[in-house]
Amino acid sequence: MNAAAGVKTLRIDERDFSARADETILEVARQNGIFIPTLCELKGLSEVGACRLCLVEVKNSNRLLPACVTRVEEGMEITTNSQRLERYRRSILELLFTERNHICSVCVSNGHCELQSLAQKLGMDHVHFPYRYPKAQVDASHPRFLVDHNRCILCSRCVRVCDEVEGAHTWDVKGRGINTQIISDLDQPWGSSETCTGCGKCVHVCPTGALSEKGRSVAEMMKRRQFLPYLTLMREDRE
């Protein structure tokens, strides 16, 4: 433990905790078995606060704060679950479902999808917003993998793992708002990418069926993420 970091004491959901000053609200909550929903966060990657599902209430703050990028502070009083948070989280999830075409029943990741299981866990039995049904593309130009933009939630895990862990930075993001899309290299077919090493890390960190291995049928795509904390740990040791 870094002595300079110091120890902070705080309250989460009416319970007292102490934590290192360099820890986030999410880390402390998880260590103590408090559930906060997340989609973009993945242990071993940097945090970006993109999905906003981990928003929590902090006393004396007039806005909600994302737990994954908010460091603990002395005397913080945090609420991880309330009717207001439930409403926002449900709205965020529903909007994710309407923005692309998430057809769970015919998806390679059916039964192994973080979006699908979170919807079930948060009690989302239908979507209140009108579906957009956008025309999204499938890029199957890579010899071993494919990207189906119908199923992408723009969590950017693929972008981060490719840049931070593999060091290739094949993936990036183009456009803004509703037109945002994941691209390979200079917005070209994945198969023509000169930087992609074919390692498949992006496929296995993808929370949905947006990135998958070719030849997988419905519900057959199981993601294996064990490599990520292991790789990160080995690199930390070397430093």
């Binding site: 075409n101 057809i103 998806c107 059916n110 049904y133």
Partner: protein, 177 residues
Amino acid sequence: MSKLRLATVWLDGCSGCHMSFLDLDERLIALGEKIELVYSPLVDTKVFPENVDITLVEGAVSSEEDLHKVQLIRQRTKTLVSLGDCAVTANVPGMRNAFGTKAIYDRAYRENVTLDPGIPNETVPQLLASARPVHEIVAVDLFVPGCPPSADTIFYVLNSLLEGCAAEICAKTRFGA
């Protein structure tokens, strides 16, 4: 006690939800003590009756006929249940929505047809511009996702409705289940 009047309807779906309903097997006999099936693809009634207690709606609202039916059903039903992913999300029938009806008609009635290709203008109902979930058209009282919802889920839902208690749907089923 008089029996509850149950109806089941098959709009734009594959009938998989009805297959799942039939998978109740011998439980259907016990259910028959408490309900009367007044309208369904499984019985011979042609017109959707008045004063229905519960209607299970399978399928998305996809054609002029579906639209007419679902509005009539809503008028004549106390508790309308969206049964399965097609009714709840438009699911697979909704996959046509990004392409537009012209492309769909051409594919189905011109490109893949050798004998007398052309778009039918009678007997087949016209497609709506897009397939929609039932609750975007009429009010829905209960949502049961799943593709299809299991027989156990349907049994649980029907019993909850019969006993008048709240059903915790997400504990039993999910999208794509």
